[in-house]
């Protein structure tokens, strides 16, 4: 017991000897497999937190839709369905190219890795370009969140949403934004949820570019492709969330 900590490295060598050369092997894991499995658990847990983060917004949307069913249905007609559908297809393709990139990384095929990662990034960029056109159209028409909502063409002019007592109690402020409650709320959620999702796409482009550079350097092989695998998981989740957002906003009845 009087010897120092150096002993420890030599001890763990029993399992780690096979990977002694691998610079990615961290000292507190016995084997590379253990390290890979641990990273994967970490990523799945992170994805669980993402689901719950969006889950809060989905619940909020549901509550408000139940409160303003008519306004929500009318407001959703302002969204352009084919643009949403186009983006859905684009993201599905990107998921497919991502799978191919992970496969290529597992085989250590550098050229294919780079190609498929680049294609995935391209799809992500197309998604954002379409989103840009959607957002700027909404902005011009005044279909904006909350108190910035300035569109005048809605079919229901009278403010029927707030219960009579409340409306009277909060008279001055209620007069300022009288008739747009449900509509503005719809667009509040539209911008929050697609915005948060768009932010995740941006972050996705960031991490995809990072592993693209590392793939170019030839860092990934059959024994170490953890980052590609984890980014893949993340990217699939981002796609999956859009698969729920699309019908929620573009296809409600």
């Amino acid at each position: 017991m009087s010897t120092t900590s150096v002993d420890l490295h030599t001890h763990s060598g029993g399992h780690a000897a096979a990977h002694a050369d691998d610079p990615h092997h961290q000292h507190h894991f016995t084997t590379m497999e253990q390290q890979f499995d641990t990273s994967k658990i970490g990523m799945w847990l992170f994805l669980a937190t993402e689901v719950l983060l969006f889950g809060g917004l989905f619940v909020g949307f549901g509550m408000m839709q139940a409160r303003y069913p008519r306004e929500f249905v009318e407001a959703h007609t302002h969204l352009v369905r084919w643009q949403g559908a186009l983006n859905t297809v684009v993201l599905l393709i990107s998921s497919f190219t991502m799978v191919l990139a992970v496969q290529a990384a597992k085989k250590g095929d550098k050229a294919k890795q780079v190609l498929f990662l680049a294609l995935t990034i391209l799809c992500a960029c197309i998604f954002l370009v379409v989103k840009y056109f959607e957002y700027s159209h909404k902005y011009e028409e005044g279909w904006l969140p909350g108190r910035f909502y300035s569109y005048k063409g809605d079919s229901i002019p009278a403010c029927h949403a707030a219960p009579p007592g409340e409306a009277a109690a909060a008279a001055p402020a209620a007069n300022a934004v009288p008739c747009t409650n449900g509509y503005a709320t719809f667009f509040s959620f539209y911008f929050m949820m697609t915005g948060l999702h768009g932010f995740h796409i941006l972050a996705g482009i960031g991490v995809l570019s990072w592993i693209l550079i590392r793939a170019k350097r030839g860092e990934f092989s059959a024994s170490y492709y953890t980052p590609v695998d984890l980014v893949g998981l993340y990217w699939h989740l981002v796609d999956l969330i859009w698969i729920y957002l699309f019908p929620l906003y573009y296809l409600i009845q």
Partner: protein, 550 residues
Amino acid sequence: MDHAIAPATRIGDQPRPKKNYLNETKGFWSWAGTVDHKRIGIMYLVGVLVAFLMGGIFALLVRLTLLTPSHKLFGKVLLTAEQYNRVFTLHGAIMVFLFIIPAIPASLGNFVLPLMLGAKDVAFPRLNLFSFYLWLTGALMAITAMVFGAVDTGWTFYTPYSTTTDGPVTLMTLAVFVLGFSSIFTGLNFIATVHKLRAPGMGWFDMPLFIWGIYSTAIIQVLATPVLGITLVLLVLERSFGIGIFDPRIGGDPVLFQHFFWFYSHPAVYIMILPGMAIISELIPTFSQKTIFGYRAIAYSSVSLALVSFIVWGHHMFVAGQSQLATVVFSALTFLVAIPSGVKLYNWLGTMYQGNIKLDTPMLYAISFLVLFAIGGLTGIFLGTLATDVHLTDTYFVVAHFHFVMVGGTVTAFIGGLHYWWPKMTGRMYSEAWGRVGCALWNIGFNMTFLTQFFLGSKGMPRRYYNYLDQFQPLHAFSTVGSWILGLGLFITAAYLLASLRKPMDAPDNPWNGTTLEWKTSSPPITHNFEEQPVLEREPYDYRPVLVAK
């Protein structure tokens, strides 16, 4: 049996290694940039104790203001009503978000968890350091929010008040958002560590019960905290853009905020209490020198408390306008909480029964926990019952219940755990005699302060109020005097613990004759925790002497 773990070493059995995690490297950056879970644990410990001190000073200030109905001390008004609102908000927010939530998992848990598992570190050491800096950032943001005009919403940020009041509510909520992510990453790290880094031979049911408690906590941290995050984002957006979700003037629903908030914050109180229970599950068998009674029952009760915590949030809103049906359902579900809590209490008592009980300071705190937590838990039943809750809602009864569970429960366990692992963390023994004095004052002061508040509450004294009727003054004064004794006890505790740091290292590797793996390494441990990878060969809590040879 020749490989069986040797019986506990008493003082001075083995030569102390020259190098340990404290002196292996030196200088500021060797700490600020460390990825060693033990050093990160110590940094967290310093951080949460500073927060505890600040929150404690605000608490004393609140009590002092309530000493007399005129709020005057030596002829001067101590705090105006506005200042009072801010001070109790600071007390609540600091204690909840900066102290209790990270206190046990991030400080003691960080230090002990990998050692107990026989691992060299947590699964993601860099993420661990990152979550410490997130905590620090959040703490600094919160303190900034206080300096630039304090927040007066209470720690619950209820709408519509929080969306309309002045002051840096936005900064404060963003601080809590950042703190939440710190908590998420700590939980995520611990789950992965428990799953993948257990010592060879350690199955799930060979883990110390402390690990089970921290693991259950981590599940809640990971699953509940994101919802708080999005809720706070919605609150900030409502304040700045009027998105129309919580503000009734623009078509929102303020009760929806309460649903969102308590969906996190009810599980969050289990983030606070489960680690306390986890510590008690270590202290009781060690200081009774007897195998834990009902190991599996305690392990399962931790996990089931974590799960039940997600379906009872509505009991915070019995009078907030949710439907009658929901109220009845939430009330019924709330009673479920009593089952795993009771299972734990009886198993701890069963462990002590016919044990060889040693009343060292950690055990004194453990026994205090049993009494205080029992009172806290039983008064929770009053509040979960609809008929009594309508009378008791928003009175001092709730304040007293909450403090009995959180302070009498969690903080008592935290201090007990701090004493228990102090020799392991610092390599030094503290003064046992002063430890007992501190624990006695803690108990006297705590009960004077908070038992009193049950009476105040049941007589109708509303919580958070600045003014009160003259008839409540004797009880308020009694409670305030209790807070001074409580403060004195903590001051003495801090003094003798700090004084012990000036001594040379004198702690044996295993001062309490514990059986879990952290006692198998030196005090303080070497940087890589163990000289050799420990292998688990006996069940935890097996205190029978080892038969040396067959």
